[in-house]
């Protein structure tokens, strides 16, 4: 427990210990009861029968799920690369010395942060056909991910560049470098290093948002789950498939989050990396 929160309660005496133990037991009892109810209901509605789990043994099903996983990762990778590029470009625009460029970039960032990602994807997939432009589900998902996360990453990059101590850029200018040189050689490398945890956190958000492709029928994991789950010949195993898919998603996101935490801990011990005030994940969710 962190130091500030450790002072919220005194070292427990005998009465407090008894009370805390009671509270602990009560909490565990409530959690156990909840889990028991869920398992009971799953069993009662036949979700734990072997019949609804035999889909796991079929190779076709395994391949279909693998296909969904690959599509998810494809959308994630393309979206991530494009979002990073767009974010860098927009951040440079927002940091520009020219007012017109600054306002344009700021406007674009605000615009794409205000529109929900779902509406963006719907726009590309359901809206554009009215104008005669057909877009594949993959393109719609990746475009939506790129625009939204690019705008958020622009803010992250900008915060990183602004957090670099002023002496760095002053020294670079004193050496005769011009703005682009200062950015390329001095500011951006340090900014990216210090904002790494925040960038990876945003990539976790990107991974989670790739599941939104399900809503426009992009064949990613969740879509496969619903497809398989409504298949009557397999016994309509909606809940089992969804559970397995949930485990896969959570494992992927946990891996990425663990990477972010590891990088943050490593950089905290490294004196060369500027500590930027706790870049939590306020904007995600």
């Amino acid at each position: 427990m962190s130091a500030p929160t450790a002072v919220l309660f005194d070292v427990p005496g005998p009465r407090a210990r008894a009370r805390n133990t009671l509270a602990g037991v009560a909490t565990l009892a409530v959690v156990a009861a909840l889990l028991a109810v869920i398992v009971w209901r799953l069993g009662a509605t036949g979700q734990l029968d072997a019949r609804v789990w035999e889909w796991i043994t079929y190779e076709n099903v395994q391949l279909a799920l693998l296909d969904g996983l690959v599509n998810t990762l494809w959308a994630f990778a393309s979206g991530a690369v494009l979002a990073l590029l767009l974010g860098a470009v927009l951040a440079l625009g927002r940091l520009s010395d020219h007012r017109a460029l600054r306002s344009l970039a700021s406007g674009i960032v605000e615009l794409f942060r205000a529109v929900p990602l779902v509406v963006l994807m719907f726009l590309f997939y359901y809206g554009l056909p009215s104008a005669g432009v057909t877009v594949s589900t993959y393109a719609a998902v990746v475009l939506g991910l790129m625009l939204y996360n690019g705008a958020v990453l622009a803010e992250v990059f900008r915060a990183g560049v602004l957090a670099v101590p002023r002496g760095q850029s002053e020294a670079a200018y004193a050496l005769g470098m011009r703005k682009s040189g200062v950015m390329r050689f001095v500011l951006l490398p340090q900014a990216v290093r210090s904002m790494m945890p925040a960038i990876i956190s945003q990539l976790v958000v990107l991974l989670k948002d790739s599941a939104l492709g399900f809503l426009i029928t992009y064949p990613e994991l969740l879509f496969q789950a619903q497809f398989l789950g409504s298949n009557a010949t397999l016994g309509s195993p909606l809940i089992p498939v969804a559970l397995v898919v949930a485990v896969i998603y959570i494992a992927l996101c946990l891996l990425l989050s663990a990477l972010a935490t590891w990088i943050e801990q490593r950089s905290r011990r490294n004196p060369a990396v500027i500590a930027v005030a706790a870049a939590g994940r306020p904007d995600d969710a």
Binding site: Q47, P116, V119, L123, L128, D209, A211, L238, A242, A285
Partner: protein
């Protein structure tokens, strides 16, 4: 333009649905989030573990998956609930995890001396939290909390994919009546911009006025 005017009633009632989802989920997630934060800093190890497990689980699950379970799975396993309630439960449970993290961060910005003085006065855990720490934590909690609620407002559109009556489904209604889905979706986007940008401005202003040096 006539896409909007011709379907104005539908447009407004759908945004009403969005706002209804948002308000109910926001309140529920705030209450649950504060309770979770209290659990995570409590002296009872079981409560701390439960809170941490809950938050870690839900912060690493896509919202689509959570709503998938509630919209499609809940009725099969438990009992019938209208889609609106199911969406509210899903959104609240999801957002509560983020609210918990924000409140926990806020609690850690309150100077230690406050909690120590409260302890010296003999106040118990709930009293310290309720009377001393949380009221002061509100200052540093408000800006990121506003961000989380803005994200919730945008997340209500995910419920559109599960046939909940809100703004994201407006294009379907327009499509049925033969209008242009592109224009319809652009109007929906504009509607969200109109809702979100004032909230964002409010959040920036709160951040400037109330920012606490950590």
């Amino acid at each position: 333009m006539d896409v909007l005017l011709g379907n104005l009633g539908e447009f407004l009632t759908r945004f009403g649905g969005t706002l209804g989802l948002f308000v109910v989920s926001a309140i529920a997630s705030l209450i649950l989030g504060v309770v979770l934060a209290a659990m995570r800093v409590s002296p009872v190890p079981a409560m701390r573990a439960t809170g941490t497990a809950y938050v870690t689980l839900l912060r690493n699950t896509p919202l689509t998956l959570v709503l998938f379970f509630f919209a499609l799975g809940f009725t099969k396993i438990f009992f019938y609930l209208p889609f609106f309630l199911l969406a509210v439960i899903g959104l609240s449970l999801y957002t509560a995890a983020f609210v918990c993290e924000v409140v926990r961060g806020g609690i850690s910005t309150v100077p230690e001396g406050q909690a120590e003085a409260a302890r010296a006065l003999g106040l118990g855990f709930t009293q310290i939290l309720g009377l001393v720490v949380l009221p002061q934590a509100v200052r540093s909690v408000m800006p990121p909390l506003t961000s989380v609620q803005i994200a919730l407002l945008k997340n209500t559109t995910v419920a559109a994919g599960f046939s909940v009556f809100e703004a994201g489904g407006f294009y379907r209604a327009v499509n049925e009546r033969g209008g242009s889905t592109l224009v319809a979706l652009l109007w929906v986007a504009l509607g969200f911009i109109v809702l979100v940008i004032p909230l964002t401005v409010l959040q920036r202003r709160l951040e400037k006025r109330w920012s606490v040096a950590r």
